[in-house]
Amino acid sequence: MIRSIPVKTFPRHSFFFGIFAILLLSLESKGADSKLDFTQDIRPILSDKCFFCHGPDEHERGADLRLDNAKDAFADLGGYAAIVAGKPLESELILRILDEDDPMPPEKSHKTLKSEEVELLTRWIVEGAEYSEPWAYVQPKKNSIPKVGDQKWPVNWIDRFVLSRLESESLQPSLDADPVTLIRRLHFDLTGLPPTPEEADAFVDGKTDFDTVVDDLLASPHFGERMAMYWLDLVRYADTVGYHGDQDHNISPYRDYVIRSFNENMPFDQFTIEQIAGDLLPNSGKWQKVASGYNRLLQTSHEGGIQKKEYNAIYAADRVRNVSAVWMGATVGCAQCHDHKYDPYTIKDHYAMAAFFADIHDDGYSGNTLPANRQPEMLFLTDEQEAELAKIEAEIEPLFDKATQKSLEKLDVEKAKLVASSKVGKGNKKAIQNKISEVDRRIASIAPAEERQAWAQLHSKRKAIQKEGRLTMITAAKPPREMRVLPRGNWQDNTGDIVNADVPGFLGSIPVDSRTPTRLDLAEWLTNGETGVGEMTARVFANRFWYLFFGTGISRSLDDFGGQGVPPENPELLDNLAVHFYESGWDVKAMVRFLVTSRAYRQSSITPPELKERDPHNQLVARQSRYRLPAEAIRDNALAVSGLLVDQQGGTSAKPYQPIGYFRHLNFPVRTYKAHKNQDQWRRGVYVHWQRMFLHPMMKAMDAPSREECTAQRPRSNTPNAALVLLNDPTFLEAARVFAIRVLAEGGDSIDSRLNFAFREALSRLPDPEERTVMTSLLKATRADYENNPNSAASLLENGMAPTPMEVDPIDLASWTAITRALLNLNETVTRN
């Protein structure tokens, strides 16, 4: 066997024999049942270490060799082949890896193979070098539900997949979490808010059962807000344009659409279609137009001296990055300059996808107005406002016809102008008076006084409602711009081919006969399993739903289902969830219910060190996950516990307290931030004004993204800046103070009863003796300080604008505010366990 190796590549290195020995040993030690899996074991190595030069991108390709598919890898290269199945020592791949003089990967690539990786590759070739298609490009298929030993543990089939895997690893699931943890987990996961003490107690005492709680929470309007927190990250929703002057733009009704859609349990395919192509639907209604604002969410520039053509290219690429990241979990954006290095997306695919959006003309953005000038927009009225308006119209209708109303409005304007000029004493007084009388006479001639009065009242009501309306950016299709491939992404290069709108070639095509495919076709292709990739889209979202309720994806790569993404640890479970979601008619609430009513969901998140070491990313699901709450929920929790939370749904964005001067770097125009001085101050985090260039420092410290790009997974940091926010941000100070007012008013008279009240509100449980001791001594020390310095007690109470009732003793309140501050700062308070 060794003699058959061509002399030119004969390795002169003892390492070779070492590997050979390892190989023999490894083959001996492992039975046939542990055959390597290409997707799990081999593809990640080849992708990371080899595909850069021997992958899909033909421009980078070395030695005209591809290793990303079997055909090319096995091809005869003139007497030898990269891979010879069963014969590692005749496979050029292995020989070159072992070649000391000219090894692969080459030194200049700065990539090296670990000896375990070489061993795996060698074993795989010995085992027959079987390739399989990249997992994310194969249609999800329904797998049979595995048999498990423990028949008592599983509740639904999710649990059978999980348990079967655990049993094969000789692991056991964790015990169910205690009821307090569980009820808090459910409330935070499904609404982003804590349970009230009554809700917690009812569950702990068995007065409400798990499934009923789940149903109630899914029916809560806060469910939509919670889901929107995630969705708005994906689609990069923000209140400002994001480049240069970072001016506000009009888009808040889109956020309300998202919340409403989740609350109404809109099927996910419809949700997709309305956003990408709501304007193209026949008879598209108000909400569909608002939804089409999705296409307008990207960062835009209003800087003087931008080159239109350059920004057309920038916006096109931005839209491709987002639509592919959100719905396909794909990095098609990487093919903007060249074919993708690791996935079969070509540069042409990139521009063909961009062509779907070429009917959106980002025109007329110039000028540094506030809000930014971003036509097309529409005036948005809520359903309630519309109903009221309809009522008014119905009352107006019998009074005057449309033409008369128009004339009246015109005459009113005319009269108002005359009256105004008579007041400032412009022109001849008498002449003006005559003109006014003439207008009055004309008014009287077309409308009798009584009706006119009634009309005037209704009309001013109507105008008031219309004034309450909000503008919002929408999509309005225009003839598509010509779309060319831009070689190396260079917008000044006109030599590239003209491309039509199309989906990536290796994923099929859109059957449209001779017409040009539209955004509507794209949206349908994304969601239809028969004619498009619907089930694959379902898999992207099944994985993300899992992440929302288990803290990590089944595939950890929430935004990269490509060759470099991490393959799912339990692919059968992921596929079945995808098919389930798709076959349910894209029923989001049903999907969420199915996940959270599994036994796997109920597990404790306490992680023994051995398990942490064995499964650091919780891919085997032998436990639940624990992590700090998202930024919005940290805010919402403090407001809810204090009683300050205003749960108005939808509307314009809310502006919480913010450090003075934080916007000093903004210009065109210069900005002064005005925190809301009304109820808007205490609205939920999902409604907080999202300034892309300077996101509110509290949000930022808690890892909320700037929303310039798609964020499928936020980082979870734990920094001194975050500690400073919880300690010193006026929002949290005020929440603590108002919480303390409640403790004094509702918590009884003793320290113990007050601590009981406070702990139940903040943590859904009572304090234990040690906690009582710590808090009591903090209370006493603080009180002693304030008794010596009553003025500082008074100034503590000045934090925030919520009033303090007159009858509350300032020293009492200031002292208890230390306790409530401590509670709002506890790790337990801000952690989803």
Partner: protein, 464 residues
């Protein structure tokens, strides 16, 4: 360092708290670098001070002297220079040559050309290496800054300060490793996004922290009204006790990290105001910079940069936001140079006197330069220009007095020894002991680098 009466030192704090906190948790916040095996080779520089002249200072009124420009003053700009080139506000306008709006002289032993706008910098001519052949790819401010800071115009990528702090960690436990300071003066100030110091896909703890000259020096770093330091300490102590007690039940490593975070937060409450208070600097030092305590000026920021460098901050970035001189260039150059020239030179001299210049890399420059063509918003000015402009570096193993690279006879195109932004990054990393091509982070399946995918070149010609 000032010590606090309650927690005189970290050791004491922990001792008092009855806790032996593993160093891992603490250093994960303050200290440790997250990348393996760095530096790749012996570093010349330990830290970077990046003086960003936001708006794009004119190379033709600072470092790039072109006699031909004066000869053609007022004449049409030859189309051989401008055809097919990107252009900003002069789109569709008649293009005329604008001669220098100031005089140039040679300075120092090296004889570097420096304009009369910069009399103080002229005195440090032999300490700085001027690169007169810079090019960038972005012609509008915001993307050009993003390009200068992150190596790409796509949002969401880490800034160079985050890269460096990620790679090398910080040498301070009381302060963030990457600090940003800003000042204004000159034309309408450039908006600067916090994206410019964001950590992108790197862990959040490597993001730049902005220090403010008015209000809280760092957001929320001051005790709330009506809360004394003693009370704040007692509060934090109670929080720590309860968190530790909880940790005994649930064994969550995140709680360990959190204990350290609260400790550092508390230390920052004293160390940051202490750092920001320059009133205890000797009078001659304040005068050399032209700084008045608490004025928020570029001069004060230069002095703060030195104080940050002394305390072990790894990457210090200053922005002066007044350099966008589309019109009235002469007037605004007077203002901008008046505010920045003396402090910049003072910073170099001060670092030198303290023996810190040799391991501190100082970089000066804007996000791009300005056109050789006239633009007239008010008096004569110049538009954005990306095909040739000047920057300089000093200290940290840079050979002072070097003139590197050239633009063409009108200062339009960089023609000799062209230096791309990625080459600047590669050189900066090289001085810090980092091989740019081997310094990467996996994101979306790619090995992302500050210097991107194209080959980046270290500017050997300016190295000592």
């Amino acid at each position: 360092m000032t010590t606090h009466p309650i927690f005189p030192s970290r050791r004491n704090f922990l001792g008092q708290a009855g806790l032996s906190l593993g160093s891992a948790a603490f250093s994960s916040l303050a200290n440790a670098s997250a990348a393996d095996a760095l530096p790749h080779f012996a570093a010349k520089a330990k830290r970077v001070i990046f003086l960003c002249m936001a708006g794009g200072p004119s190379h033709l009124e600072t470092y790039d002297y072109k006699p031909k420009l004066d000869q053609l003053n007022g004449k049409p700009m030859p189309t051989s220079f401008t055809d097919g080139q990107p252009i900003a506000q002069l789109q569709g306008k008649e293009l005329k040559v604008q001669g220098h709006l100031t005089k140039f002289k040679q300075h120092g032993k090296s004889g570097q050309f420096i304009s009369d706008y910069l009399p103080h910098t002229a005195k440090i001519a032999d300490d700085i290496a001027v690169v007169r052949s810079m090019v960038t790819e972005q012609i509008n401010h915001d993307p050009a800054h993003t390009f200068m800071n992150t190596g790409t115009a796509v949002s969401g990528r880490p800034s160079m300060g985050s890269w460096v702090t990620y790679g090398l960690g910080s040498e301070t436990e009381d302060l963030p490793g990457f600090v940003v300071l800003t000042s204004v003066g000159g034309r309408n100030p450039q908006p600067i996004a916090s994206r410019q110091w964001a950590a992108g896909f790197l862990p959040s703890r490597f993001q730049g922290v902005e220090f403010n000259s008015s209000g809280d020096p760092v957001h929320y770093v001051r005790n709330p009204k009506g809360v004394s330091s003693k009370q704040q300490a007692a509060l934090i102590d109670a929080i720590q006790k309860l968190d530790r007690k909880r940790n005994a039940q649930v064994a969550n490593p995140e709680i360990d990290t959190r204990l350290a975070a609260y400790e550092m937060a508390f230390k920052m409450q004293t160390s940051v105001p202490d750092l920001m208070d320059i009133s205890n600097e000797p009078k001659h030092v304040l005068e050399s910079y032209g700084a008045e305590p608490g004025d928020g000026s570029y001069a004060s920021n230069c002095l703060l940069a030195r104080r940050l460098a002394e305390r072990g901050v790894r990457f210090i970035q200053l922005y002066h936001r007044g350099w966008d001189h589309h019109g009235d260039l002469a007037k605004y150059m007077d203002i901008c140079c008046g505010l920045t020239d003396q402090p910049t030179a003072a910073l170099i001299s001060d670092l030198k006197e303290r023996g810190m210049l040799e391991d501190t890399l100082v970089v000066w420059g804007g996000e791009f330069g300005r056109t050789p063509m006239f633009q007239g918003k008010g008096g004569p000015g110049r538009d954005h220009h990306i095909k040739g402009f000047s920057m300089w570096m000093a200290g940290g193993g840079i050979k002072g007095g070097t003139s590197y690279g050239e633009t063409d006879e009108l200062g339009y195109h960089a023609v000799n020894d062209v230096v791309h932004v990625r080459d600047l990054h590669a050189t900066m990393l090289h001085q810090l002991g980092i091989h740019s091509n081997r310094f990467s982070f996996p994101f979306q399946g790619l090995d992302m680098r500050l210097t991107g995918v194209e080959k980046a070149r270290v500017i050997r010609g300016i190295l000592a």
